[in-house]
Structure formats: structure tokens, C-alpha cells
Amino acid sequence: MKNMTEINAAGLENRDRRHFLKSSALLTGVLTATSVLGLLAPSLSWALPLQHLDQADADAVLALAKTLYPHKDLPDAVYALVVKELDVYAGDAEGRNFVTKGVAALNAKASGHFSKVSRAGQRRAVATLIDDGFVQKVRSTCVTGLYNNDMAFAHFGYEGEAFSKGGYVHRGFNDLSWLPAPPSEASPALKS
């Protein structure tokens, strides 16, 4: 899994400490052993070192992504990909400033650190700031970043690339069995 390796490039088992010392912030987590990702990932614990965002801002972006797209059991490792993109965005002074200001506005609305207030408080803050440029930036990053990676494919049950596997012609394109099969006039049998 490509993205998992990315995040685990500095996996807790064999992390390069000097690399960590240079980082501006660190996101870490542990996958549930029985989850889809837990079963697939090379290691259960993961860590993502950041280069530009400070810890408070990184935590806020993570919390914002989770508030915008509150999935039942999507591991933080996937949300962390959004933080990573924002970290790249914050690579110059303008981008850095944009994120800092955006987080400050969220904190102000939430009357506290956005990442630490209650879920309901987070939702309220986001609802009032939904048209804000920063919130929209994180939202659109979520739409393309959260659902377009191998971890998300595995988690949500999308099988992705199919040609190298011969398509689905022999891999279940019509394996649904909880409804009656349509008659052959409507849906003819597979031809060879």
C-alpha cells in the first residue's frame, strides 16, 4: 500500500530520529489490529513528521478534516494525508500565514483550541465558518485527498485498478445474490 508506506516511512519501529528532530510537528496513531487497514499495513503504529506546521496547527487541521467528514471508523492515518497536503501548502510564508490565520479563526469561534473542544463545538464552529477560505481549502483537500489513496480504497471497499487483474468478468461483476437474477431477455448470459 503506497500511502501507508508514505506515512510509515518514519514508522515508529524504525524511525530515523534525526529526521524527527528536524520536523516541526508529528502526528502519530495506532491502527486497530482487526480493521481493514490494520490487517494490510506493515505496522500498526504510524507517524507522520511535518516540516512547516506547528503541533497546534497540525492538530487543528486534523480535527477540522474529521469534523468536515466524520467517518464512523476511518483511521486518523487517512485524515493525516490531508494534514500532509496542508503542510506542503504551508511551505512558504504566505501559505503558512493562511493556515495560521485560519486556525486562529477556528479557535476564536470555538472559544478554545479547536482540536480540544467538544465535537458539537467543533461542528458549530465549522458551520459558521464554512464559507471561510481556509475551511474551504481544507474541505476541497479532503475531497480529493481523503478518498483518493490506497488506504481509503481499502477502507471503503473500492478495488481500484482492474485491467491487470482481467477486469471483473470472472471476479464478481454480477455476484450479487440478495435479489433475484433478472430474466435473460433483460440481462443475457455472458458470451464467450
Binding site: I130, V143, T144, F163, V169, W178
Partner: protein
Amino acid sequence: MVQFAKDDDTVVVIVGSGAGGGTLANELCQKGVNVVLLEAGKRQSSATFINDEWPSFKQLAWLDTRTTSGSWRIARDFPNLPSWICKTVGGTTTHWAGASLRFHDYEFKTRTTYGGIKGANVMDWPLSLDELEPYYARAEDKMGVTRTNDIPGLPGNNNFKIMYSGATKVGYKTCHTGRMAINSRPRAGRGRCLQLGFCFQGCKSGAKWSTLYTEIPAAEATGKLELRTEAHVARIEHDAAGKANAVVYFDADGKEQRQKARVVCVAGNSIETPRLLLMSASAKYPDGLANSSGQVGRNYMRHTTGSVYAYFRDPVHFYRGTVMAGVITDEVPNNPKRGFVGGYEFETISLGLPFYAAFLDPGAWGSKFATFMDHYKSTAGMWIVGEDLAQKSNRITLNSMVKDQYGLPVPNVHYDDHPNDVAMREHAYKQGEAIYRAVGALDVIRTPPYPSTHNLGTCRMSEKASDGVCNKHGQTHDIPNLFISDGSQFTSGGAANPTLTIVSLAIRQAEYIAEQLAARSL
């Protein structure tokens, strides 16, 4: 490969290699006519197509800036991407799903059938189904459309099983796996469908018809076609008498080139085609070429669309297999008792996870959206394709405030839904929801239209020169050697996906052009 001189003024120049242009090129070459085919995009192949939605989109889609205005939701959701069209050899037949339905006879006579409708600019075609029928038959044979020419239907996938059961439960009678330009068994040197589920990304098995690997190589084999890729046409020129005589384009290096021509055929899809005519304005034609009626760019149609997605308790894996795996056509016939004129069909649709997230409910956030994503695996989907009505004010204009990479004004696409479109969409959403509820949907969602995949009507056919841009052969009323060869010709949109009709018109147009050339009247 044959090459024609830039000053060879005996060639037919075609702009665009998609459904219209690619077919026309082959048909003309088969009749011995020399053709220069100018295509803005690059040439890909089944081998280079990518089974990954965003990278494929970047490889094939038309991404030059466009702008939008009007009250349609696209202007809010995708202000710079009003349409989903390709820029590549084969045009949008690389991305298309293959649904190939004929128009009904009354759909060529909408003014007569529907009567005058306030706010709409509805008109009969100068062409009847009877006249087009032989060409429909040839197009179906060429494209290998299932359920025609003794070609069996495709096997339905899981998404279709749900559609079928639901449709039957709500009382619909005509639901099957469609008429698809996708091989259900090997045909015409191409293999059968592998049920890859990436029909929108270019068919890697070649089972789906595309001019890229059917018409264009067949034309090349005649020795009569020169295809120039990365040739972006900027304007069409004319002689003192007003006849088209050359096409000016930017080549791959951005250098301006001029190809002389005996006949010019424009098939750039319904946004670029009128844009090109408008950009070709001259002292003689100050409002653009072939625009004495003022109708160039007007009457833009995009079908009344929308999608219904639903999730169920048990798995579906709707992304497996053909994207448009089946249709319901019960709502196609015109029945004004429903509160609108015209009709619509349902077709299954599936999107991979990345596109599903992007298009499900653009701009949405929060738990409803997340819950739908959570149930991706047990989701089914269908797309609504209904007739929208021509309106004068729905139009393509040049936006001189915004320039493209060549310094040319970008097209602005203006669209307002007509009340008839709104009523039809509402009816279709309700029916679609009922279909899924009938088979146990846990929740359903109404997805708004995607960037327009069907773009029609902007250089429409008309009996009278004052009502439209071209005649029933696609020949412009004003300039006899200038032809419109794509969906821009459509006088009305019908409740049918347009490509089969575009291809049929191209076959017919090729016959006409070849006859006229032989008779020296062009």
C-alpha cells in the same frame, strides 16, 4: 502516412476527431476524398489509458479554462468546468459510456408535438426519422451496438440487478441492459467487454467503440487521411466571395500554421464549435461565420440530468463492470400529464471512490455525506437523461476578459434551467428514489448534474436560414463549403444519449459532401 501540403486547397479539413469528426473523416476517406483532420489533443491508445480516475481525467479531458454564468448549479459547483469533454484523438468517445439509443419520430418534431412553450425556442428538425433511419442502421452496425444486428445484449452487473428489481417493483416494463456500443462478444477485430468498470477512463480492452481505434485507423489505412495531433484551430478564413478557404491553427510548438481547404467541417463539440465560428469574425462576417441568423452559440442544450444514489444493507460493488449497465425507458414517451413535455430515461451509473466523493454532492460536508461514503461498497446508482428545451439565452459567447494559453477569448457557457427542465428533474428524482426504496434502500440521495457530458444545439439545423445555422446536411446556410459535423447541429436533444445520432448524421453528411464534390458544386 500520407501528408498534404499546407497550400493544398483540394482537401477537406475537419476540426476535431471525436464522434462526429472521426466518423466523417473515415466515411470521406472510404469514398476517396482527401482529408486533413486537425485535433487539439494528443494520441493515446488502449495501452496508455489509465485505470485511475483523476490521472485519466488529466490525460484525456479538455482542461482549458472556460467560464460559466446563469442559474444552473454547475456555475456554483464547477465554475470553470461547465462540461466534461475530451481533448485527445477520439475526442469524448474515449470517455463515453457507449449507450446508443435512437430518437423517436416525434423527437424530430418537437414544436409540432409540444406546441409553443413560453421561454423556450423549440423548433422541428428539418429532418425526419424516416430520412435518418438508414443511417441509424449503418451507425449501429459500425459501432457494434448490442441488441441490433443480432448482437446479444451485455450481461447485467450488480448495479443493474438492483435497477431491474426496483424498476419491476414500481411497475416499469422496459428495463434491460441497453443498446450499447460495447462488444458483448468479439466483433470487428475487437474483443469482448472485460467488465473493467473504467468505461469513463478509456476502454483498455477496446471493447467499447471509440473513433480512436476504429474510424481513424480505418481512415489512415485508405492513404487518404492525414491526422495532425496537437493542432489547436484558432480560426477559419474565407475568400473575397465569402467561401471558407483556410484554417489557422497552433501546432504542438505553439506556432501558427495555415492549412488551405476546399471544404471545412467543424466538429469540436458544442462549446468549441460555436466558439470557433465566433472567433472567425471578419469584416465580411462581423458577427462570426455562418451567423446571419444570430443563432450561433444559442440554444445550448445539455440534457436534464441528475443522479440518484442509494445504499443498501448488503454489498453491491457497483463499480464492477460496465458503467452504464442498463436502462429504463418507460418515462421516455411524451406525456404532458406528468407536468412537463418530453421524456427521460434512467441508466445505471457508477463512479470510483475518488469521483464519487467529488460528484456525490459538491460542496457538502458533515455526517450525511460521510455516511454515504461509508456505505460506498453497498451503493447503487442511476443517472437521469431527459430532454431539455432549447432557449435562446442559453448560449456560448466569447469571454474577452479571460484568455486561454493562445491568447484567445475563452468560451462562456450560460445556462438557466427552464421550468420544464426543473419539473422533469423533480419527477425523475422521485421515481428514481422510489425504485431504490422498493428494493430496500436504507437511504437515497439526489446528486446534482455533473459537468455536461452531452453538449448540443449551438449551431442548430433549421429549414429556414433565419432560424438556425445549418441545413439538414449540416451545411451552413450562409457558407456552402462550411459544415457543422457534431452535436451542435441538434435542433432538439431528445430523451436519448446523443452519440448514435451524431455518428448517423456524420455518415449522412459524408455522403452529401462526396456527392457535392463529385458534382463540383462545392
